[in-house]
Symmetry: C2
Subunit: 354 residues, 2 copies
Amino acid sequence: MKKLINFSISFIIFFILLSSCKQELVKENKGERAPLENIQKDPLPSWNETSTKKEIIAYVDVVCDKNHPYFIPVKDRISVFDNDGNLWSEQPAYFQLFFAMDRVKEMAPDHPEWKNKQPFKAVLENDMESLAEQGEEGLIKLVMATHSGNTIKEFDTYVKDWIASAKHPTKNVTYDQLVYQPMLELLQFLRANDFKTYVVSGGGVDFMRAFVTDIYGIPEEQIIGSRIKTEFDYNDGNPRIVRLAALDFIDDKEGKPLNIQKIIGKKPVFSSGNSDGDLQMMQWTASNKYNSFMLYVHHTDSIREWAYDRDSHIGKLDKGLDQAIKDGWTVIDMKKDWKVIYPFEISDSHQDQD
Amino acid sequence: MKKLINFSISFIIFFILLSSCKQELVKENKGERAPLENIQKDPLPSWNETSTKKEIIAYVDVVCDKNHPYFIPVKDRISVFDNDGNLWSEQPAYFQLFFAMDRVKEMAPDHPEWKNKQPFKAVLENDMESLAEQGEEGLIKLVMATHSGNTIKEFDTYVKDWIASAKHPTKNVTYDQLVYQPMLELLQFLRANDFKTYVVSGGGVDFMRAFVTDIYGIPEEQIIGSRIKTEFDYNDGNPRIVRLAALDFIDDKEGKPLNIQKIIGKKPVFSSGNSDGDLQMMQWTASNKYNSFMLYVHHTDSIREWAYDRDSHIGKLDKGLDQAIKDGWTVIDMKKDWKVIYPFEISDSHQDQD
């Protein structure tokens, strides 16, 4: 949510520029293949044989070895993953914002007043310049109007319907296809070694739970995120939880370790993120009495994904990068370390082979 | 917390009365035995062969049977248990209040001003009448002074030290011995059938996590409770989470289903409680699309435990009992349904056999 709120004018200009030069970038990297037959032997087949992959595997081997001094009991193998820009893409805007904009268009028939009311007018007219002019206040209005005033069940249905049909503005695939194949393998590798995998994201928890459970193999109770306030309504024997137009908790920056303590109650041993919003979670993980692993995704691939870090208005990675370098945390160089970015690149390459 | 706040004058009088006639009630029921050799065959050996036990076993059998129309997939087998009065005793006061009072005495040397300042003066002088006169405001002061101003690590140590040594005022055993043996068996029976067992309590989450994990076999991340606010302090590279003197969330009444949704994100199929504070959690569970099970503990045993319900100032069971009767929820009659109350009754009876 906070990330959404930080959404700035220059970012919107960036968005407009990108939208105006739509490309099918995803088709350009078919050459990078991760043949399925290797998955059996290699737990991270979509990762190149660089030091990053070796460090991850060496860490897991060591902490799961009962005879090693760095052994970690199963109950303490807590791993936490940021979502936007870490498990799936986040450009040219957080996908949850596209959902909010699409919801405005869907809800518009019941809100004739939106035709002449900002920020809704701008969304309905696809006028990104005017939307940018509404600033943070306009964005909060947008999120509150589209994310509240419904029950958790209704909201869940809206998100499920959206994810099944809406397409990313430049990649032109459904958003759920824009998850990172190498990270899916990492999640699976950790679980195979009895790590509990959690999502700890600034994104809305009910938004994520509506569909990422299936994609990441992570149950609802291991998805942590930002929340709006809710209220319980007995509703004459048909109880429901209603979503209110007020923020309850921002799961970003200091909020991440605080929420981890509130909800998990244990310090993670493995933490993965891509921005300064994940730094406190990394610091908290780094202070574990067990040998812990801090992993930053560095967006370095302007061709297959996007390249951005210190000056980005989304997923800014500046202080985090400094501390990662200073403290020797592992930094994924997306361009060099990953054979493929998205799962469909594997299917594409296999279809080519047929 | 809210329960603590509701702590009333008449309750304190009750407390004084009880304290003045200390008895070793726990020794009176050795005759009720649950021989260990039966545990293998019978999942609930400390339960008498009444309809309550039969209903529980029949439910679990049915919902775990793949060929039955009421089958529930493993991922949705979420069970939630209130703590005070449901998994362990709560009389003559919530055990967390005894902890707060003992902490005041322990902290007193660093707070000479407490000698003349209420409610601390009353606690230090064991003057329960004056403590009662401080009312809710005094109790909040007591809880805030003893539960905040420390790190989660320090607080964890205080609770662990306390539970290892402090004794219940009338039962004269450490508080961790006052858990209900039949409920420990029920938790184990559910887990053996792939239910995830959660504690969802009005008690403080960090208080519970400090010791109930071992006793109930429930990991920290499955313990949900009331919380005070916290803040993250980077502390020059030794990050810590500091507990602040302000309430964050009251996990009672409507708070229970709200917190279940926030943290678990799924509706439970099995809910167990003992008071009106659990009613909304029961109603929420009863509205599950799956066949669900609502279980109330009714405190009917004035000899082995305590007998109280509609008029009690702790664990009041009034509206809940009405709805349980109306809707056919299962109500445990502690006196009739349980062979033993506490685990040490089994050990005692076995020692007798030696």
